[in-house]
Symmetry: C2
Subunit: 132 residues, 2 copies
Amino acid sequence: MRIGELAARAGTTTRTLRYYESRGLLPARRGTNGYRSYDEGDLKLLRQIRTLQDFGFDLEETRPFVECLRAGHPQGDSCPASLAVYRRKLDELDALIGELTAVRATIAVRLAAADEPPADEPPLCEMGGQEL
Amino acid sequence: MRIGELAARAGTTTRTLRYYESRGLLPARRGTNGYRSYDEGDLKLLRQIRTLQDFGFDLEETRPFVECLRAGHPQGDSCPASLAVYRRKLDELDALIGELTAVRATIAVRLAAADEPPADEPPLCEMGGQEL
DNA sequence: CGTTGCCCTGACGTTGGCGTCAAGGATTAC
DNA sequence: GTAATCCTTGACGCCAACGTCAGGGCAACG
């Protein structure tokens, strides 16, 4: 399989594959004419990368998963290094979601305060404008 | 007040102020020597910008708030254009938080599945291995 | 009068993950 | 045979919000 077909089968572009190769993530064999040659295993590796990328992983963070697959494991997350990335990502996500939720709440409050300023006298009970 | 003092009082850098000026967001008067000159009002504008930036707003998104203040309103979010940005941001945040939460859940599931694989016999309830 | 410390403009560097040419060689379809 | 497609490498472009020089001016202190 050549680069165009692999790209199409993974729903990506040839540019992306060459980029991954340049990063040492997805090296390719070469045919006699210099064309890159890939097999089904490469497709699996590529799909692993793409899935993680869709999750918001950096390219470098996908490396342990790819190496795990290349080492013969059935799943990219069968290796300790991959699981470590998972855990780190969970922490990052929790932190990020927490920050975003706090910002959301702040904005909601300010919006409510500006949307209904005709409060000459403050109401007795103020509920937070939760809308999530 | 010159650029260095304004930057210090707002907890930012002179480079940042020149950048904002280049974007037309925070223009400055000039002294006879060509030095930029700012007043307390500029500090207020700058603080508005910085606050929104900390919330994750794009620079362009802070413009309505700045113009609102410059128009004489006590708060940057006293104008309709600012409130529209608030609402748009709420929607964006809800969408983003939703996606991140979904990813978080997926990763948590995979991590749990890999952490405890000693399940010789499948549990009664199988959840699909969703691949977002 | 020198030196330190502010200020000026202009311009290139950073980060990630590619997109988009450009100029050419190989393959394939008809 | 030749035109349309594919492939190759190389290199610049993009996006945001600045960081970081480079080279020079103005000001005040001792």
